[in-house]
Amino acid sequence: MTRFLKATGYAVGLPAILLTAWWFGSANSTNTFWPPLSTIIETFPTTWTWDRIVADVFPSLARLGIGFGIAVVVGIVLGTAIGLSPTLRALSEPVLEFFRAVPPPVLVPIIALFAGYTGWLGKIVTIALGCLWPILLNTVEGVRGLEPTLTDTAKSYRLSPWRRLVFVVLPGTSPRIFTGARQALSIGVILMVISELFGANRGLGAAIVQFQRSFAIPQMWTGVIVLGLIGVLLAALFKVVENRMLAWYLGQRQIDRGE
């Protein structure tokens, strides 16, 4: 119980300090662009009504989920194939290096040309493409870095390619896949917002831009806070999934390090 309290204390401590600083620092602010925190908090419930959440937050999150999901599936499938096949690797390496070097937001206008500015398609493609690279590259590295003794063991017991994939390659690569997915998730959140900045449409990012353009500054700040909260929530969710799926890895690492 004390451990739980301590952990909660640590988690809440710094945000509390920052909020307090913000509160008093902005208390007497007359600057339109830096409204007092009290004003921002007052505006919050009237801005983020259930209707707005349904109209703006949910579609954004849905696009993020679909785009991220596509990236995970495609990244793992392609990454495993490239990692296992030296020929594929030799073929794809220069292309992968090229696309990795291109910052994902640059893709937004290009994709919009093909998939449209306002619809879901362009945004999902943007998110999926941005999320793909870290997952793909980490999967390739993970497959290549598989412990050779494990591969030999699988071979010597004549495991079929299918069993090797499901019981050896994928679980062995999963720590790296998670590393890639974690990076991809933060890129995904950024692209979720950026993909909504162009053209008029609904969504969390679009809402923030609209508030800004209509000088609804406190409302704009609440949007930023909502974004931050979503980030925290997603990270926590990711941690839960990771702890569950990588329990063996985390346990083993703990023992190896003697923690």
Binding site: K155, Y157, R158, P171
Partner: protein, 296 residues
């Protein structure tokens, strides 16, 4: 170190000759002129194994010793079908080995890295049996029996990394035993465990071998271990490897750490193998392959 007179030891070379005739019946594993040269473009060529001819009869426990760098691991990987030979062939149960053969199980030195850490002990032992297409009930029974043989029934639902090194190697042994191979290969399996655990594991191998009638090829760098475990000890030369001598271990079948190791005969055999290894280290190697083959 007293060096005993060589004539005291019967070499099995002469007997190995008719093995080809007896193939498929009493011979489990037959190495015929095995040769391995690593020849990767852009790297210096390394002749690892020059010529090896020996065979192992069904139900035998044979140890292979050699100085470090004698190509023991290369030899084992060749036999396991994990490495392509440059020349010669390995024959298991009458079939030439071209890839990992059916009926062979390998216990690797790095127990920590040969067990799947994402699976429990039970799942590790069970996986090869799934591949064999056994039904669930049979698998369960075989896994339970194998775990019982190695004394790990309690640990079945734990993950390998939760166990001590010695226990992890027991899991690897259980997995191999459950697979019911006709030949069990062991590559310095106890090199990384402490001395007490090692003695226990040696006795475990002896008892499993007797109990299950499996053919065992045990590679080690430890002379004592080789003499204690083996019915025969195959001594390898330095690289490029040839056979130094095939030493018959005429110790009683019933062995235990205390009495067997204090037998005078144990000391003699140990001394003999030791002197062979010393010669091997100096680069002393028989030129001609086996008297039986045509020579090179």
């Amino acid at each position: 170190m007293a060096i005993t007179k060589a004539p005291l030891f019967t070499s099995r070379r002469a007997e190995a000759e008719p093995s080809a005739a007896a193939e498929g019946t009493s011979v489990a594993l037959d190495l015929r002129g095995v040769q391995k040269t690593y020849d990767t473009p852009g790297r210096p060529q390394v002749e690892a194994i020059r010529h090896l001819d020996f065979s192992i009869r069904r139900g035998e426990l044979v140890c292979v010793v050699g100085p470090s760098g004698a190509g023991k691991t290369t030899l084992l990987r060749s036999i396991a079908g994990l490495l392509d030979l440059t020349g010669g062939e390995v024959v298991l149960d009458g079939n030439v080995v071209t890839g990992p053969p059916e009926g062979m199980a390998v216990v690797f030195q790095e127990y920590g890295r040969s067990l799947f850490p994402w699976m429990t002990v039970r799942q590790n032992v069970e996986l090869p049996l799934k591949e064999k297409g056994l039904d669930k009930a049979t698998r369960r029974e075989k896994v339970n029996r194998a775990l019982e043989e190695v004394g790990l029934t309690e640990a079945a639902e734990q993950h390998p990394w939760q166990l001590s090194g010695g226990m992890q190697q027991r899991v690897a042994i259980a997995r191999a035993v459950a697979y019911e191979p006709s030949v069990l290969l062991m590559d310095e399996p106890f090199a990384a465990v402490d001395a007490q655990t090692r003695a226990e594991l040696e006795d475990l191998v002896r008892s499993l071998w007797k109990h299950l009638g499996v053919t065992v090829l045990f590679v080690t760098h430890d002379i004592d271990e080789a003499v204690y475990l083996g019915e025969r000890v195959i001594v390898l030369s330095n690289r490029p490897t040839v056979l130094m001598e095939d030493v018959d271990v005429d110790l009683p079948a019933e062995r235990d750490q205390l009495t067997t190791r204090s037998l005078a005969r144990f000391g003699e055999l140990r001394g003999h193998v030791y002197s062979l290894i010393q010669r091997a280290k100096r680069g002393d190697r028989p030129d001609a392959p086996l008297p039986a083959s045509k020579g090179e």
